[in-house]
Symmetry: C2
Subunit: 211 residues, 2 copies
């Protein structure tokens, strides 16, 4: 909480609460208007503080974006996806989809910032690149470990990377489709897809080994 | 070209050329800053016209967004994806991936606006929803036709929808990964995935029929 202090008007605890209110208001503003479109003045007004008071907590919009990304990473890390060993650990991805359906606003923020971060100059790009690389790397390791343990037939590093990239891609793409068409059964479609993928892995029918 | 005229200073042809310049500048601005972040004043300056002259071509930013979306739909429609009959028609999706790699800016615009359109109030939402529904519907019809023609085993409407939604999701997701990590082999990864999917369809191993 490197930026938690700074307000001389209240005790430390109320500074933390105010900081949380600002981060929440910023997340809503980034979701609704994007990073470039969000206004520090409007975020301050939403929380009921002056722009000058906002700047005592966060020196600029980029600092505020970093705090929103940190908060978002904490929220999703709490789900513990990928921590369970074995092929069964991939079942935790189903919980992630259910979480998205129950927290549509957080998913919207994620998809919006990911879309913005495809621009090389976007301030969230490094964070989202690293987060993506970390998740892909973690799931690739998990899949290689499952093969070493004999739960699935031998798999090469390249095959594991192709499988995990395609699985993550399907998750992101289905999430986008659901945001555009909330009548779609995101959880059911992903469950089907994961059932089929796990069954395919069990018999060693990896994508990059197909003819 | 409902908005093409309006300028009394030059002949009709130069009005069209100016209009095209404005649409191109707007596409660049929406790609770099998003819809909310893009400024009409900056777009006018990029083209070298006054804000008042810009407003003679496009009455507001939403009007300009509509023109950008229309231009983008025309560009991608020219690829003719999905027009070829039979299972081989799906091979045209490979050309779409190669097109993305060669036109990164257009893909960035598409992914950025799609991310923004997950917000229910975004002015591009209806366009992107309709475009998505149209592409999914067209590919589902194509897949059902391929089964009717006996190229693949019988498939239900629900199975076809699951297959096409997952295929489109994988495309979108891989595109996002490539925008974040240009070292990734987008064309190769999608080729592998499509090879495997077509082979799976040929033997009737549909996702929603898996155990």
């Amino acid at each position: 909480m490197a930026n938690a202090g700074g307000s001389a008007r209240g005790p430390y605890r109320s500074g933390i609460r105010r900081r949380e209110q600002i981060v929440n208001a910023a997340a809503r503003a980034f979701t609704a208007h994007g990073y470039d479109g969000a206004s520090m003045r409007q975020i301050a007004a939403d929380v009921g503080v002056s722009p000058a008071a906002l700047l005592r907590h966060f020196q600029d919009k980029e600092d505020l974006l970093a705090a929103v990304l940190e908060w978002w990473a904490r929220e999703t890390a709490a789900l513990g996806v990928g921590e369970r060993a074995g092929l069964g650990g991939f079942d935790d991805l189903r919980a992630l989809m259910r979480y998205h359906v129950e927290h549509r606003g957080l998913l919207e923020l994620f998809i919006r910032l990911t879309g913005e971060a495809s621009n090389e100059k976007h301030p969230a790009r490094a964070f989202i690149q690293e987060r993506y690389a970390k998740i892909v790397g973690m799931l690739v390791e998990r899949l290689l470990g499952v093969a070493r343990a004999g739960e699935i037939p031998p798999i090469t590093q390249g095959q594991a990377e192709s499988e995990i990239r395609a699985l993550c891609a399907t998750m992101d793409g289905l999430e986008i489709q659901w945001l555009l068409d909330p009548a779609m059964d995101l959880v059911g479609l992903f469950d089907q897809h994961l059932d089929h993928t796990l069954e395919r892995w069990r018999r060693g029918g990896y994508v990059s080994s197909a003819g």
